[in-house]
């Protein structure tokens, strides 16, 4: 069963058509990258899936159940992380997650261990100060925790890494990768390296339509190329690689040994 199906969904704001007869599906247990430029309609799509915005036409199903505008019942299956999650600044993380747990219908007995588990997952177990004093990255991680409180089958994240530094981005992507086994993840982004890092499937939204939808593996294999980049999990001598290529009648006309990227250096010193 698909976690999410959108069929011929359109949406206009004023006279401007933001989504035009858009369709795509998200299979269960995958990380789905929803890619598009700023203003492409990613947030609009997500808000319609959550029943926060009304589609002009088309159908949206979450695990086979139709989404309706307003108080949609399908939200019990969904966890949502907005692009900039807003909290009550005077609360502490445990208090906030306690409120979320009560709203989501968790009984008190199961809520406390769930809150502790989630705070541990997002690395906020020791952060017992008021949320108002949290950094952007901490808020984003708390956002993931609140989205997961009801143990949702589908997690929708709206540009969860866009405003974060490389350390924060890596932390969020690691969390999303960890929960993949239990939860289907849809996340929108315009950072293509994030998609490459964790996504199984990707859809590209352009001018209100899905212009490309594919499994990441297929996408990479779809086209022949004259240029490749490989990364190995151990140090290898350049000669060894060249020898393997020549044995297979492949003669590179150019090769480069990768320098440390700025990002890997940053991650190394910022630990």
């Amino acid at each position: 069963m698909n976690a999410l199906d959108l069929r011929s969904v359109s949406k206009s704001f004023g006279g401007k058509r933001v989504l035009d007869d858009m369709s795509f599906s998200v299979p269960e247990h995958c990380v789905f990258g929803f890619v598009g430029t700023n203003g492409a309609g990613k947030t609009t799509t997500m808000k319609m899936i959550l029943g926060l915005l009304k589609a002009d036409c088309g159908e949206i199903d979450v695990y086979g159940e139709r989404v309706s505008f307003g108080a949609t019942k399908t939200n019990r299956l969904i966890g949502y992380l907005p692009d900039v999650p807003e909290f009550y600044g005077y609360m502490r993380p445990k208090q906030y997650l306690g409120l979320c747990a009560e709203i989501a219908g968790l009984d008190e007995k199961s809520a406390q261990p769930r809150i502790a588990e989630l705070l541990d997952l997002v690395g906020l177990s020791d952060a017992n100060r008021k949320i108002g004093g949290f950094s952007r990255g901490m808020k984003q991680r708390l956002g993931v925790a609140q989205a997961l409180i009801g143990d949702p089958k589908l997690l929708i994240c709206d540009e969860p890494t866009s405003a974060l530094d490389p350390v924060g981005r890596k932390e969020i992507l690691d969390i999303l990768r960890k929960i993949k086994a239990k939860t289907t993840v849809v996340f929108s982004t315009h950072i293509l390296s994030d998609v490459e890092r964790i996504c199984d499937r990707v859809a590209v939204l352009n001018k209100g339509k899905i212009v490309l939808e594919s499994a990441m593996g297929d996408l990479k294999l779809q086209e022949k190329s004259t240029s490749f980049t490989f990364e190995f999990n151990r140090e290898i001598a350049t000669d060894e690689i060249l020898r393997v290529l020549r044995e297979n009648n492949l003669e590179p006309i150019k090769y480069e040994t990768a320098e440390h990227t700025i990002e890997s250096l940053f991650l190394g010193v910022a630990k």
């Binding site: 926060l52 915005l53 307003g70 939200n75 807003e86 909290f87 979320c100 009560e102 709203i103």
Partner: protein
Amino acid sequence: MRQFLAFSKKEFHESAATFRLYILLGLFVMFGMMSPLLAKLTPEIIKSLGDTGMMISVHEPTSLDAWAQFFHNVGQMGMLVLIIVFCGTMSNELSKGTLVNLLTKGMKRHTVIASKMFASSVLWTFAYLLCFGAGFAYTAYFWDIGELPHALLAFAAPWLFGELLLATHVFGGTLFGNIYGSLLSCIGAVILMNLLSILPGASKYNPVTLSGGTLPLLSGAGKPSDFIPAVLICAAAVVLLTAGSIVMFNRKKM
């Protein structure tokens, strides 16, 4: 019901954490205490102004003067405080987007409005009761309270008008989604009601009469039927504004 209780609990927590609760209670206790004190001290203050050559006749103050001062304080300063303290109730949630996390967890939209009205009403009721208690205690200390005809109607009237202001805040906040919209709705409603009270015979039906205008009931100069239409209209307006807020919020894009 669980969501209603959880969200109401959050509202009370917020009131304490943002000092709204303490400001409200502190000011209303002060208004309650000030009323008999001012009534008692006014003649002394006027006398202390000394020999200005003017003849000012000041009668000995009575408990009725204390209640006149009470209605004056609550009806003007009190309502202004209420408008300012509660102006962010709904509008802040919408302008900051703090409801999105909760609504996407299945929180019913009508529960948000109901909780907001409930929590605001409880705080306002508590503040008004303390105000009345302080006023009553000091008045009883200085004077014989005597008989208070139609006391329930006279003293419940400002409370009901306060409820109307709270409902207007929730309505305006939901409609405009920002604090200015909420404030303008409330202030606009008060100005409109005051303008309408200029019309002859309108005060009987005008809710603003309830905001400090019920002293004649205690003095015996007025009768309940002079105020009942305004009470009914005010109560109906509270219900309609709350229902309107729910309908509007159900349709609101987030």
